[in-house]
Assembly symmetry: D2
Homo-oligomer: 344 residues x 4
């Protein structure tokens, strides 16, 4: 059994990690931390977990974590993660970090969109935890930067088009829509039920911090630096991200090439389901690690439109993190995350 | 491996049965039927199930069912169930029936609230599938009448009070609220998104067919015939039932007796979680087989108020049906239905 | 034109007052106050009001209010209201208070459920602002205590039964369900979108402060002191309250007497619509000042079930407050609040 | 008083027309028709209208309509509208048609996306009812083709950029999201509450019939034929459309020019509110005739992103139709549609 701990377990991604891990056949969840909830019983904080786990939140002490765990999920705010992660690695722990701190290859890019990085030397080692792109590297990593929820949905939608050189990299637009759990469990007026319900809005237009993460990975796939228009929107629902990607086709590209690119790219991807032109609802992946993708070539305008759907807490965060853990531990990729989606 | 079929698998309870069964470690789901969808692939009808099951809907032929299964879940409308069930029993199949057809002990009561019963002789044999009441009888049953969603929530809330003679049986009021999936997947104006969303209403006031089912079981618990005011309401959400029960306390009854009754009644009930006076949200049981119960003695008015929450599709239908199957097959009671709830 | 001010205008009831008043043909809204937002433009705080009103939030200075207004709506927390109201009355202003501070006849009752009252002498003068009960007294009042949202829904549902002596006063149960705007605009984890959405729960069971307000008015209607079981629940929607009342019929009472009681009680009530046994949805009154009421006598159990629906922000707060203002100012009762409901 | 009738009044746009018209100070609503509901009282079909209008649905007989009305709103399905409208014009009635039948200048375009047009000669006469573009022509029209909901949101967002030649017409992408009322009141599985709630999906990708309507008007504004990528999505809420437009800036265009284009274009537009870069929620226009627009120049990628929000039933259909009626009748443009939005 792999002994696992979660640092920063009181938010929605923490909940989702606990939910998944307490059914994982090869994992024992031994420790959960939360600065604010330290001392409280998990089952009192989240009554959903009564009868399941008899744990209390603790402080995130590195020695304690090392005593109790072989691998740690750090589900902390950015900056807080980079304060803890090095001390975990020093103690021979493996780490899957769900913050933004270890997703970037370039400290300069991180500094431009976030703050200066305190452990830039680790960026070279950290592996970007998107299994469809880096499965082998993840297997041997000790530090994985788990992708952001929006980047997961955008990269999986646009990746095949870029790798196969079917579209103009300068033409990319990603219009993304996320359920409210993506904003986390912290309270604010903007997340008050009556402010979200029955409303819909864009936010952080042209300035969301997931933009450089998307650009880093898509540039690597394209083989050249590219920039993208990325616009996030807030949906009046709890879970799910849908991203609509628009890309201008290169001269002469036809629909069958696009179909082929998706089939080729996802030949061995158990968690990507290709839907042809049956455009999916977020409902059909809810609670699962799937990314369902559909597309259509619109010859009238010379573009291809791609739609991807994921559950932002599962594939967009905790499910993908467990998938990375599986790879790092030598377990089957889908272990513990292969139940069907929740519907309705 | 137990070979299992679902007759009438295209609705929400069918979906939920499939979802649960395709992860059950001791079950092989071999056949699903639907008159309307016969011939169609499950994964085309419900894209959520792609990559999970390679089944097509078939016609509900008893010989075919007997060839493929040891146990059948009949998730058909009432009347349709009683047309199929006898032929399944004749072929040595075990049956868990999710309709109302085998929940009643008295053909007269069934006839008064539904229609005349065509197989009244089976009512004496059928076991009411509420494990907290009939665990042992279910173990040896060949036909289980799976309880209605509302009755499950009401009986579990009020049962301890009646068995322990703490309340006046004539005083019972059950005010129930259900998510829209309880009304099924059939289309109608009343279930149009815009007619349900942002609205709330009572329906079938003083005439809902779950009333006699509730009264049958509560009367048995009380040891005397009783009648109840039961009012269902439609919530603008997909899943969940919350029932608020009001009962007048018998002279001299004090709060500690009420606490004791609940603890005693649910001493060995892995799927009932007692919450004291921390009143639960339906969210904390969503997607699970739990029934969470809280209560408060209000001395000012001489009543006890009990609140129970369940997921109407899981504990209120398919999860409970699988629990009954587990008991009938000699599996552990919670096998395949012991994952934590879904939140948020 | 009546000059009107709103003290405490930044919450949802404030928004609703502004919305109504800026279309009222006989009112000029001259001043809005908010301690927290003082100095900010209304249209910046609530972009919905751009192009409508060019006001800024100010401090609630009594002299300033007296200079600008003839009547003030105080939409402040309880306790804060009683700190301001006397100084407004001293300056010859009329006041409609939306807090709980002037709803009670007995300072002892207020003290038991809230805190000690600082201006008990005003309680004798204040009129309870439910026009169906106190229309004439409101006309000549200088201080009206605007009813709570839940009490409005409960009193209008149960009042006719009690005044006509058709039910046993000791048997009353009111099971109420409210949209989330009833909890106000203050932020808290319990009102986070993901905690309310797709969930339903009871709260403050047997201890909600609206209980004594309901009991005060129903006791007066019954002609004897009575106590009620009142249970509030939180609905996953923004607006609307539905209350289900259960009452035991006195011996020999028949359905036609119940029908007659409702017709008689609401003979001249432009904002109550009797629906017989067509049970209403909250949707059909949304955004309006209506209370729609339906009922059914259930002879099986000897009870009558009454359902009332209101919009908690309109009839349950600001619409009713404007109705009271209309009566106090000699305007037609429905002026400015007679538009049809919003649907869907 | 203008005497007005609504042909096809039983759907959501019919409801919204009635809601608005029964408060309009210069209108008397004299007749409503519905083939399916003929004979039924409005207040029985829509209890929300009790106490407001004592009308019954009738058959849509042209002579009867001419006897009762000066102007008719035709809220019928396309094709049905063009069967009725000519006979209304023949009887000297003015018509605002809410279907697609009189929105197109070219019968060929209509034929390509819909069916062959039966009254192509009327297309030359009909005025496209977007007041910001055709205010003067609407004033003297006898037949107005009321714009589609999506086209209203897209044209108002992109129009200023094209008229001022600031963007490349070939680069336009419009990603639109609509509440479920936009799909009408007809029942279907796709609009079942549980299929819409907590889900989000794109539909009719690259083939929605509003595409040519958008292209017609934007081409006229651009002064050259253009094509657009238009993708509609279904939001889990009842009302509201948000459109996100992406457009590539022409070489050398700077942000201040974009600002200026919006200010200039909407100099005299009482129902467009410019929000700069404060991106609006659909909530802030709900129930109103406003279109709120925000934009941002993203120099990194050389694009401008524009977001518009409308209420699909008000500005996207019935409110705009009443605005057109006001113009045709010589009333002030905003009469009867100038109340503030509904929130929350």
């Amino acid at each position: 059994m792999l002994r696992v701990a979660i640092a920063g377990a009181s938010g929605y991604t923490g909940f989702e990690l606990i939910r998944i891990l307490c059914c994982h056949p090869k994992v024992r969840l031994t420790m959960i931390t939360s600065r604010q909830q330290a001392g409280q019983k998990l089952a009192d904080f989240y009554p959903a977990f009564r009868n399941h786990l008899d744990l209390r939140f603790e402080e995130a002490d590195p020695d304690e974590l090392a005593r109790n765990a072989d691998l740690v999920f750090t589900a902390l705010p950015h900056q807080a993660a980079m304060n803890l992660v090095p001390s975990l690695l020093d103690r021979q722990l493996k780490v899957v970090d769900l913050s933004a701190d270890y997703r970037f290859r370039s400290p300069e890019v991180y500094a431009r969109w976030y703050e200066p990085h305190r452990t830039p030397e680790l960026l070279a080692e950290a592996v970007y935890g998107l299994p469809e792109l880096y499965r082998d590297a993840i297997r041997s990593a000790r530090l994985v930067g788990n992708p952001g929820c929006y980047p997961t949905s955008v990269i999986l939608a646009a990746g095949p088009l870029l790798r196969h050189r079917l579209v103009d990299p300068a033409s990319l637009v990603a219009d993304s829509k996320s359920g409210a759990s993506g904003a986390g469990r912290g309270v604010s007026l903007g997340l008050h039920f009556c402010e979200v319900n029955e409303g819909f809005r864009a936010y952080k237009v042209a300035e969301h911090r997931h933009t450089p993460e998307i650009e880093q990975e898509l540039s690597l796939l394209a083989g050249e630096p590219l920039r993208i228009s990325f616009t996030p929107h807030l949906l009046p629902m709890s879970r799910g991200i849908l991203t609509t990607v628009y890309a201008g086709l290169r001269q002469g590209v036809v629909a069958s090439q696009v179909d082929g690119a998706f089939r080729d790219f996802y030949r061995e991807a158990p968690f990507v389901r290709l839907c042809g032109s049956d455009f999916p609802s977020t409902l059909q992946v809810r609670g699962s690690n799937y990314c369902d993708i559909a597309w259509k070539v619109d010859e009238r305008v010379g573009r291809v439109i791609v739609v991807s759907v994921i559950d932002n807490l599962t594939r967009g965060a905790s499910g993908q993190a467990v998938c990375n853990m599986n790879l790092m531990a030598g377990f089957p990729e889908g272990m513990g995350i292969d139940a069907p989606p929740w519907q309705p």
